[in-house]
Symmetry: C4
Subunit: 278 residues, 4 copies
């Protein structure tokens, strides 16, 4: 039992401990497999619509998928087996993604009639398999900084998005009243969709105002909304700057204890003493 325990710990440190070089290499390998697997799904999806696959070509894609599924199944069981607290991994977001993206293959194995009969089920399985790309996020620890900035400004962001939603609903309702179903504003939801597409300057053009008052209201909405919509970017950016400002505070002059030095500063701005390097 203890041998097993030691064996499990050894595997964990060798494959999943970020401080070890072997673990970082294993992670890069898994990322590469995930990337390749997704590329294959994209090719499969593209080829399938252009011309009907022959029996042999079809088999090739199936075998490649079998190979990737086995690799990711192995990875999943290694993680479950070696993780210090397996339950915590299994019920984490990563655990769900790792499991869900290998399931489609086994579903086809057990109920082969699904893949053949229903185009939608086939498409849904492709979509689930594409989620393997999310495995690459494991390799980006720097994202935690951005995530932290978003979490810290969540009150402002929620407030802002709630405000924008109200503006969109009112603008959409107004255009629904002015233009009406005759010009594509068939329902209130469609009009709100139009308002979002318009104010964010996406502007598909699938629904556009055709009457003079409709165009006037739309122009006003665009000009005003345009000035407002960039505010979330400002919130996130300023939060990030705040984080950087905090790091500047960590730089304290050893002579006079002055804090708040600029990142590029070499000398203390109060006593002129040499600042420690970052």
């Amino acid at each position: 039992m203890l041998v097993m325990q030691t064996f499990r710990r050894r595997i964990y440190h060798a494959l999943f401990d970020h401080n070890r070089r072997s673990a970082r290499r294993f992670e890069a390998l898994c990322g590469l497999f995930a990337l390749l697997s997704v590329v294959v799904i994209f090719i499969e999806s593209g080829v399938g619509t252009t011309y009907h696959l022959t029996y042999d070509e079809w088999h090739l894609f199936v075998w490649v998928e079998v190979f990737f599924t086995l690799v990711f199944t192995l990875e999943y069981f290694l993680r479950v087996f070696s993780w210090p607290q397996p339950a915590r991994y299994v019920f984490s977001l990563w655990g769900f993604i790792d499991l869900a993206t290998i399931l489609p293959f086994y579903v086809i194995m057990l109920w082969p009639e699904i893949g053949i009969d229903y185009l939608f089920a086939w498409r849904a399985m492709r979509v689930i398999r594409v989620l393997r790309i999310l495995k690459l996020l494991r390799m980006m620890p720097a994202l935690n900084g951005i995530w932290g900035a978003i979490v810290k400004s969540r009150h402002q962001l929620i407030l802002f998005y709630a405000f924008i939603s109200i503006v969109m609903v009112v603008a959409g309702a107004l255009m629904y009243g002015i233009e009406g179903p005759a010009h594509g504003f068939t329902t209130l939801s469609t009009s709100v969709y139009w308002a979002i597409v318009t104010v964010t300057t996406v502007g598909y053009g699938d629904i556009t105002p055709h009457t003079a008052p409709g165009r006037a209201v739309a122009s006003l909405l665009i000009l005003i909304g345009y000035s407002v919509i960039a505010i979330p970017t400002g919130i996130i950016t300023s939060q990030m700057s705040g984080e950087i400002a905090k790091r500047q505070l960590a730089r304290i002059c050893p002579d006079c204890h002055q804090s708040g030095h600029e990142t590029a500063a070499k000398y203390c701005k109060a006593c002129g003493g040499k600042l420690p390097e970052e």
Copy 2:
């Protein structure tokens, strides 16, 4: 009479005084009702276009609407009854919204033939009822900050929007002359609408230049206009930063009375003394 007065005051404090927990709860409840009511209108609007409602389904929507209208009518009369100066409430923006959004139901009750006969009237009533969503704004006191920033920079914003309007009119007139009605630029107003949609980078594509000189002028307009159009965002953002800078001024060093400390600063930048917490 005095009892009545006391009763009114008691209701006001219990339901509408933001310093009381019961009032905050009542406000949240009203907000929830407003949100639900608007969701129902959206569903009604969506369902109505997809298939013809049966008599029973139709009744369901009517009864739900009756319920919400009675709730909001009660809220309105409570406000009118308990408000310290009822006239001020009735003739305020909130008073108008609260009244207008309950009227459509009573209009149908009194003149039932309107709803049946005229599609436009029916649509207009839906639009008015959707305005209930504005009640949610009552729950966002933080918006006053944004509103204050806009009011303070109103001179710059008016100047800017006036300038942009002149540019749009000239650009629209130019394209009206170059492209003409044959390519969708039927009137001067339409051309100005095109100019606004283009310079703000919405770009629906319902009206586009087709001749070589028209495309050249449009390209120039886009490239130049693009650099100019983001200025209002800059004005509002810098005004907000100014507000924050003013709050920084409130932080004065207790030892040397130095002001203007950064938000993240812990020590006075002139004497190194400990700054009070914000």
Copy 3:
């Protein structure tokens, strides 16, 4: 002769000297007339396309136009007559605009057959008359600040626009080669027009890539171009900030001659002395 001279000078100061209240009122009046005149042209243009005008309605528009033209002709001659150096006014940008926007009426008076025969000439006259809106710019002296910021950063802006033009030409040529005339990229100029419309995120959708490699190149162009295209806004904004920084320099501490105080600062950041108000 001297009386004439005095009379001319008196008119100039009364009507065109910005330090006099009467001149500012006269300018506002001219601006109002310009605005009304342009509104009439817009209505005329809109009405003309919706239904054929009766003889009486037509006459109404002609008489209104006669009235405005006479007003602006009077203004023009007053300016030429009273200006200290008439030639400088006549050959200035404002002189050209003032003259050009009254000409269309006299052209119709002298060659009435133009307006009746040629739709294009009629449209061109409307466009020229719309330029009257530019007269409103006279009332915005604050624009000189923006104009100054643009002039000061002209080297950077020219460099940037030259660079962007080269990128657009190369991107357009690439898409012309990949997609070809079959998908709307008929000529090199059209492809460059597509590149400008795409990178600035206007995205009309009148010309779009249809082949897989075309879409890949377009996606790449969008993602990279998007990060680059906002730079001119940054240049103009930072130039404006620089102007504000210079104004801050004008604030020098009367005690220790420290400069560079923040706009919101009340005390000197070096000696703590009271700063003079702005």
Copy 4:
């Protein structure tokens, strides 16, 4: 042999040494020729599609092209002949561009049947010739600053673009599953192309969601993506600001050695001494 060496060096300094006025003039001349040559190709491309060229007009374009090709061939051989290390020039990016843009003419000379037979080959040659516009980049040494800022922030930019790519793939896959081939989302690649076009707010409108859940997901993607997509611009801009901050560090007070003075500062912010001019 030594005479040859001296002759080569003399040509190099006269024509390609940026410190000499003659070299700067020669570069401007080459740039002008490149610009004119590209303008001719644009005209040729535009004229060719509008109407069939007569034999004489066709000859005119050929002779102009012969002239430009000879000029650029001469330039190429001068560079190869006089460059200190000819191999380094030939295998540099500039060497490839200079060579590639003169080749199409010689290809037609040797295999004339290509130009006549294959429309695609003819178009490809035009595209290659347009690359001559890149020669103008030689005249923009200031671009090195921007390029340096991009190189320094390459880690952040790569991280960001990798993150955005993952988001785009997931969003595209989701919409592929929801909307499906019936509404234009034929393959996974097409759906990712749609996601890129949407989140960057280009919004062509060639592929748009048509179902209610598709529109809801698209609206969410737009609102969230919109806040995120402007981050690269922020990264590049802040990197440029960092460069400027470093230049500020070069300004050190001669009296107290205080660094970090603002660009617009005239006096030292610590001791009030006069700062040296930039």
